[in-house]
Symmetry: C2
Subunit: 221 residues, 2 copies
């Protein structure tokens, strides 16, 4: 308990995102049998900033050994613990259209700390069907029951925009306090509920910016 409060204040959402990236890198290094890594090597290999790495990891105390670097397995375990991935959280996806189905089968969504219980949809034609990986579709009307009986902690909004606010409210009413939203609209928030909205268009805009600046370059038309 005593470790929790400072972490909560010190670690911003941006930092959390970087910790996830470090975790990816360490998982890869462990898979190829590497036992230690320096912040410099991490930075070089994965195109990161070594000063930022040292700063981010210093939040948790001293992990690195000067001249040797970090122990890959130890640091990886610590990141898993910090991100709360050392226990499994149940997830429900609201919306069994193309997006919901894609997310249900998306690599990494149903492993390593997360378990997708079901897709919820209001179309009776979909009830009882499953995604390719076997996640069942349940009626949206039974959302609350499914969430309570399966102790679901995270809800994903994968419904069309006009249904997103209603879906958010239904998830929160059923006891969900962490929501991942894919609908490109502003959700009216409820207190005490964490909402993370994914804006996929930002990635296209980043590519547009790149293309604008290489237009005098050698690539493309």
């Amino acid at each position: 308990m005593s470790q929790r409060a400072p972490e909560r204040e010190a670690i911003s959402e941006l930092t959390t995102g970087r910790l996830s990236v470090y975790l990816r890198c360490l998982t890869f290094l462990e898979s190829i049998g590497q036992r230690t890594v320096s912040s410099h090597e991490l930075a070089e290999r994965f195109h990161l900033n070594s000063a930022q790495i040292r700063k981010d990891l210093a939040i948790f105390g001293e992990f690195g050994t000067r001249g040797v670097g970090y122990n890959v397995a130890t640091l990886r375990e610590h990141l898993i613990h910090t991100l709360g991935l050392d226990r499994t959280r149940n997830v429900i996806i609201a919306g069994a259209g193309n997006l919901g189905m894609a997310l249900a089968d998306y690599g990494g969504f149903n492993e390593g700390g997360f378990h997708i219980i079901a897709l919820a949809d209001s179309d009776p034609a979909k009830f009882g069907k499953t995604s390719r990986s076997g996640i069942p579709v349940v009626p949206f009307a039974s959302l609350s029951t499914t969430i309570r009986t399966s102790s679901v902690e995270i809800g994903i909004i994968a419904v069309p925009s006009p249904a997103a606010q209603h879906t958010y409210d239904a998830l929160v009413d059923a006891g969900i306090c962490a929501v991942l939203n894919f609908a490109p609209i502003q959700i009216r928030l409820r207190p005490g509920v964490k909402l993370k909205s994914v804006d996929l268009r930002i990635n296209l805009e980043s590519l547009s910016f790149y293309l604008k600046n290489v237009e005098d370059g050698t690539c493309g038309f």
Copy 2:
């Protein structure tokens, strides 16, 4: 031409992402008829950092007027120009499965600077079909022809992971130099080609971190 070089060096990918966020905010403010906005109000209203806003926007020179703030329409136009969204870029989606179909119909993917030409798939059963919004599925074998005849500039990888590298290579061979990748694998890069990989799991990990730190709180089970 003279403005291009400093922009290219000064604006990192992280900044580009923030510019997209500012653009969302300004588009919203314009839609409700607001004519000026201060960095402080932008920060308050959209949960951003006002010092960061001033720093980011200062890259482009002086836009704000002390005590008045930014002109919403002017700043919005400038961001659109900077991000290269004042002309339309053609996009192709490789993979017409659930993810490809979801992206083809995703709000904001086929407007405001982007035009999705087609989905390419290797399954003959899908040829000639369309997404809900009317984007046609073409044979993967005609990827190169479609890219050249339609001057496609951006390729999206929405195929299963085992096919992602082959798809990347095919896009690059056909002349694409900006790729958005949704497959959760490391792509072997080709020089001069911009790759942006989207890792959707990072968003779930961020929610896990939040839940871990409210476990002594009032929300949930």
